[in-house]
Symmetry: none
Subunit: 408 residues, 2 copies
């Protein structure tokens, strides 16, 4: 069993929803990679009784806990006081911490307000966590079953203190056996289809299989225990990936850099020194925008009406025959532009269908390259946001399939 870790975030701004708690995710990801099992995130506001109750709960429940926030100089920064009350410890003045706080202000040519003195008060027995990145030092202490580390909620300070102080402390306190997570990322196939395709593959008991559907992909996750043999791991991943075929666009966790579909396409385009021109309809600029700063994307155009698109290119298009229209558009852009590939993304379905979440549009993608044209067709329903996002991804995926497999 891995040691368990909880994340505890303090602050009215989090509990009232004014700030999204990105600290919890960042800390969890790092903790999981070290071999800790993160069991809970909890956020509470700046209420002393809530803080005390939560600290006591966690001290019984978890092996360790990282707490962010509540270390500032103002009256709603209550962490040290709450810890003192929760575990019946007096607050003691730390002269070194006080000098650090004073120095922070001196370096910035500012006078230290009196209120900052309270940041040098720690519960008896706490170890100071020096903070070169802000005014508030953190501290750690053991209470009941749990080793607690308290750090400021400012993300930059928190990250530095975690990497420099907390991570080494955790590594020396606990015997950690990090698991190995492999994530197989797919597009154009649903969670239940994936389960059916891989149903016949035997997954050993101590390997955890999981799924995750996001707007941008569906992920099949295999979590291997630390000492799982490398060859067996690779063999199992290969088997699962093979069952999912060309839907797989990336595999994370096998040692090489990987990322989302745009990242994969970007790698492939850059590796082959390819260039691209895009014509977007349903995706309405989203495709170009997703390829943020991509050198290989030379141009893109969006036109609401196929008729107007034809006029602006001075070619005749037929809305009832998307393949021949796409071919005509692609040829025109190919001849007049300078890009090596032309990707044309059309759809059928009137405006009402496009906006109606209960109706599906048919997406027609064509990729024109030096060795001919390649196409895919998909039916996509859902809210317009989903249709536009899928239009973007499925068009890019046609390009990815061409570059990766020449398979469609």
């Amino acid at each position: 069993m891995n040691p368990t870790l909880e994340i505890f975030s303090q602050g009215a701004e989090i509990v009232t929803g004014q700030t999204v708690d990105t600290n919890a995710a960042w800390l969890s990801e790092h903790a999981v990679n070290m071999g800790l099992t993160v069991t809970r995130h909890t956020a509470v506001g700046d209420k002393l009784d809530d803080l005390i109750a939560l600290l006591r709960e966690i001290s019984i429940r978890a092996d360790c806990c990282i707490c962010t926030g509540g270390l500032g100089p103002t009256s709603d920064d209550l962490t040290a006081e709450a810890v003192a009350k929760a575990f019946d410890l007096p607050l003691e003045y730390d002269a070194v911490a006080f000098e650090q706080i004073k120095r922070f202000f001196t370096l910035r040519n500012r006078e230290m307000p009196d209120s900052n003195r309270k940041q040098a008060m720690f519960p008896k027995g706490a170890e100071r966590i020096d903070n070169a990145w802000g005014t508030a030092p953190g501290f750690s202490l053991q209470a009941g079953r749990c080793w607690f580390a308290f750090v400021p909620g400012v993300p930059t300070e928190m990250r530095h203190l975690f990497l420099e102080s907390i991570q080494p402390a955790l590594a020396s306190r606990f015997l950690l056996h990090p698991d190995k997570l492999v994530t197989i990322r797919t597009l154009g196939i649903g969670e239940s289809d994936i389960q059916q395709r891989i149903g016949a593959i035997e997954i050993p008991d101590h390997v955890q299989l999981g799924f995750r559907a996001s707007p941008d992909d569906v992920q099949t996750k295999l979590l291997f225990p630390q000492n799982y043999p490398e060859a067996a791991m690779t063999a199992l991943v290969d088997k699962v990936a093979a069952a999912l075929g060309a839907h797989v666009f990336a595999i994370d966790g096998l040692g090489w850099a990987s990322g989302d579909l745009v990242f994969t396409v970007g790698q492939l385009m850059a590796a082959g020194k390819h260039t691209l021109a895009v014509v977007e309809t349903a995706s309405q600029g989203l495709l170009a925008a997703k390829c943020l700063g991509a050198q290989w994307l030379l141009e893109s155009r969006y036109q609401q009406s196929l008729e107007k698109l034809g006029q602006s290119l001075a070619i005749a298009l037929n809305a009832d025959d998307l393949p021949s229209s796409a071919q005509a558009i692609a040829s025109e852009i190919y001849q007049t532009g300078s890009a090596e590939f032309v990707l044309v993304q059309l759809y059928s379905g009137d405006d009402k269908t496009f906006h109606d979440k209960d109706q599906a549009i048919i997406l027609y993608n064509m990729l024109l390259t030096g060795d001919g044209s390649h196409q895919t067709t998909h039916s996509v329903a859902g809210p317009i946001e989903r249709k536009q996002n899928q239009a973007t991804l499925l068009a890019l995926d046609l390009l990815r399939r061409y570059l990766q497999h020449k398979e469609f």
Copy 2:
């Protein structure tokens, strides 16, 4: 005392830090605006015992709770089972839910896998929350002190179900006394500038003033107690808005529909039955993509190189003279296209400057309309994501200023 609400997020992807829990913040903000006091956020993974323990805790501690996630078809979706176990209720088959799930697949021309059947099983006594936005219906039930609502974790689905079902249910179950929050949304002006501009305005003691900077705007927030006189409230808001001048693009909370900059522009364009063509450079398709499904956006084009843009339009452009280049591009598109307005967004700064977060690019926007051309210039630094987002917003803001004030 306001009723207390807790947010409970289920999912390994949250607890392990792979997903930042944006649902909790969104729900909290909406709940606080309704007059609820949010006391805790908790996230746990897909472990049945953890879920059961947490549900029982909350059922004693809070007046209501919104739970996201764990309603999917796979084996790690455990919410209904956990609720049943926590409160000793049998799971019952809901024929209506089953029909809805089947219909979702039928509409998409897909066969429903057997595994989806479990999404139609609810704990006895639960009320179904219909979900027209995805496969999984939600449900609500009273357990102990707490009224629970369970919805999928997919943000679009969660938001729809909250607004359409949960919000009205909360409003009818609890006697709520919401404070009144007015938010003045601005673009092109920083937090400290705002503070200086409104520094001389007297804010009554029981009105809370706050600020919030996001990538898309800077918000000045005025929180009025429930019984604050309407006329005094309007007078104060007017005074603050007047001090911020044409930077104000929307005011939320005064009873009329308002939203972000894109929403404001959309309203203005639709009201005047205007149409627009866009040429993007720095924003790279992001402008078109932000105007999701806008009927008034007829076309947009992105070209990486100004030279190529000139070639494709068959006009000569001078990279050292953005105003005359913008004028030439706008005139050409105005003459050959059918849009009433043409918005051209150019920038100066080489590729290195564009990608370097420590260097600024100069954004030059021109809007060509029936009554002439209007322009703005801005210097924007920061990571490329910020530059592209600001390029998008500042170009749209030129259009907004023209439509709202004819002031630039």
